[in-house]
């Protein structure tokens, strides 16, 4: 029986967690530690890259950052044990620097455009730890200089303005721009799984109200422009939002805890909506694989 092909693009800015996610997915899908998770039904031919990433993940070490121009295609034949559906995920592991380069240069590689044209799904990664948010000078002035008048502040200011660069753009602006460009090349509506990575930072936050946010609420609060864009372009993007900690905690600081789990998959945390976090890191892929 020929398996349905599911061309899936992992997308996100540098350091947003794509490779760590893929490492953990490979472990869970291949090891069958998580009973409901997607399972690999045939070992991919080129699995050295996956195995190397998995070993680094198992050792609770940071992965080497992908260089911008290397594109390592990964092909996984998988089965969803809950409903028996099967498919082949073709996932190019694209470096986050490539997306940054696109945002700045306003050009796309033809190979990448070809991938977008045949894509069935996107997994978009957002790292809460490295978010760039716009901070107004006036807001800082209010906090730091409440006793001074506006005129006296202006007299003090020696204004050497740092010129604008693309890297200064807030994270949500860069992501909306990338998705807009994507949508120009798409032929059909596409599924997009939004992964808020390093989710442990949110659920273990000392701010109790912040820690109670579910992934969608977090997106509305921290990246409202992106959230509005996705809501208003649901004719193009069918979205599902996940909070995922593929590492389970901070490497270095938490290693003794992370390495102490009986099964490595038990350190993974995956939350959708207000559900209790599970260890099934393949949930986004399951959703992408489903027909609905």
């Amino acid at each position: 029986m020929e398996l349905s092909k599911n061309n899936c693009i992992l997308m996100g800015l540098p350091g947003s967690g794509k490779s760590t996610f893929l490492s953990a997915v490979w472990h869970v899908a291949e090891s069958a530690e998580v009973s409901d998770a997607i399972k690999v039904i045939a070992l991919p031919e080129n699995r050295e890259y996956l195995n190397n990433m998995r070993n680094t993940w198992l050792g609770c070490k940071d992965l080497e950052r992908n260089k911008a121009e290397s594109v390592k295609p990964i092909s996984l034949s998988v089965e969803n044990p809950l409903n028996g559906s099967m498919g082949v995920f073709n996932v190019p592991d694209l470096a986050g620097e490539m997306y940054e380069l696109q945002f700045e240069s306003r050009k796309l590689g033809k190979d990448f455009v070809d991938m977008v044209k045949v894509a069935h799904g996107i997994v978009l990664f957002i790292d809460p730890d490295t978010l760039k948010k716009p901070v107004h000078i006036a807001d800082v002035q209010k906090v730091l200089q409440p006793q001074k008048s506006a005129e006296s502040v202006k007299k003090e200011a020696a204004s050497d303005t740092k010129p604008w660069k693309h890297k200064e753009a807030p994270t949500q602006v860069a992501l909306v721009d990338l998705l807009q460009v994507f949508s120009d090349f798409l032929v059909n509506k596409i599924k997009i799984a939004i992964v808020v990575s390093a989710w442990d930072l949110i659920i273990e936050s000392p701010d109790e109200e912040y820690a109670k946010l579910n992934p969608e609420e977090w997106l509305q609060k921290e990246l409202p422009l992106l959230w509005q864009f996705l809501e208003n372009n649901n004719n193009v993007f069918n979205k599902s939002i996940y909070g995922i900690s593929a590492q389970g905690g901070q490497y270095g600081k938490d290693n003794s805890k992370l390495q102490n789990f009986g099964k490595p998959s038990e350190r993974i945390k995956v939350q959708i909506g207000n559900s209790t976090p599970s260890h099934d890191i393949t949930l986004p892929f399951k959703w992408l694989l489903d027909e609905g």
């Binding site: 306003r106 796309l108 590689g109 000078i137 006036a138 303005t161 693309h166 807009q180």
Partner: protein, 341 residues
């Protein structure tokens, strides 16, 4: 004859015909004259060559403020509201646009509208930059718009209204120097044909200057001169909805002489209503503080919500009725009249 779009490239920036066969102007490839064959030395080898060189790259829209030609991709697809922001240098035109954009970055809706997209995100970001910490400035400002009378620039926002309808808004970002020129020359006004197509004409008067006894008369006269020049020359028709904006309201409110300033502003309103009666003209007045000083109690974007609702919902193209504009070929006004309801 079928054309292989993968072997063509388009002269128009951002056109994706080479990728998906879709012309940005909506033309059939057999009639469009903008596309041409890819030259021999531009054919990428593809496959193994993944280096970041031009042969393997596809350009997309720049994201910066749009030129008149570049607005066509938007105006040809929807009934676009054109909002012209007018006034002298430093009156607050660009700051209002930057603040409006920033308001959608800060919250999940503004004035019951939500953000649906923009072709000029980078243009907006550049204009917001000097009000943000990333600029390393100690006090916020907006960079002055460069005077380019032959190359007007536009910023774009696509919003969704409470009824779930999309609204494409195009805002002019024109230098105050240009409006000074227009106030001094009927000939220049006659060349300023895009004003004929403007759904809204927002005339800015600097509230801070109006609160100064030395500056207020000149500020008033200069603003009214712009309005008179454009209306008398016919550049601004009666159908256009006019908003008179008293900007920097936070600075006016901070002055000891604020009541005198407010009385003076009431006088301006009376004068404008007399010269431009309601029977012929649609003029409303607004108090705006786009980016209030940190000492002010006014919220960020004070007054912009009321403006936005009018800008997004009212158009000179009344539903089911085409207004008859006569535009010369190649005029700016003709560019914006490509789409009619």
């Amino acid at each position: 004859m079928e054309i292989d779009f993968t072997k063509r490239k388009c002269k128009i920036e951002g056109c994706t015909v080479a990728i998906n066969g879709k012309c940005v102007e909506g033309l059939d490839l057999t009639v469009c004259t903008n596309h041409e064959p890819i030259g021999e030395n531009e054919k990428g080898e593809g496959g193994d060559d993944k280096s970041w060189n031009d042969a393997n790259l596809v350009s997309f829209y720049l994201g910066d403020a749009l030129s008149l030609d570049e607005t066509y991709g938007i105006t040809s697809n929807s009934l676009t509201r054109l909002i012209m922001l007018a006034g002298r240098v430093d009156a607050g035109k660009t700051t209002l646009l930057a603040s409006l954009y920033d308001l959608f970055q800060m919250q999940t809706s503004f004035a019951d509208y939500t953000f649906a997209g923009s072709k000029t995100l980078i243009g907006f970001e550049k204009r917001c930059h000097e009000s943000r910490l990333a600029s390393k400035r100690k006090d916020p400002k907006t960079e002055r718009t460069i005077f380019t009378p032959d190359d007007p620039k536009f910023l774009h926002l696509k919003l969704r209204n409470p009824a779930g309808e999309n609204r494409d808004l195009l805002f002019t970002d024109i230098s105050g120097e240009h409006f000074k020129q227009l106030s001094n020359s009927t000939d220049e006004c006659k060349k300023f044909t895009m004003a004929k197509r403007a759904d809204h004409f927002a005339l800015f008067l600097d509230g801070d200057l109006l609160s100064s006894i030395e500056e207020r008369q000149q500020t008033k006269i200069n603003a009214l001169a712009i309005l008179r020049s454009l209306t008398e020359s016919g550049a601004l028709p009666e159908e256009t909805k006019i908003q008179v904006i008293f900007s920097r309201w936070d600075l006016l409110e901070s002055k000891n002489e604020k009541q005198a300033a407010k009385n003076f502003i009431e006088g301006i309103k009376t004068e404008i209503k007399f010269k431009y009666p309601d029977t012929k003209w649609n003029i409303l007045f607004f108090e705006i503080a786009s980016r209030p000083d940190f000492t002010s109690n006014l919220p960020f974007g004070h007054g912009i919500d009321k403006l936005l609702k009018i800008w997004a919902e009212e158009s000179i193209y009344v539903k089911d009725k085409k207004l008859d504009f006569s535009f010369e070929v190649n005029s700016d006004g003709r560019q914006f009249s490509q789409y009619t309801a």
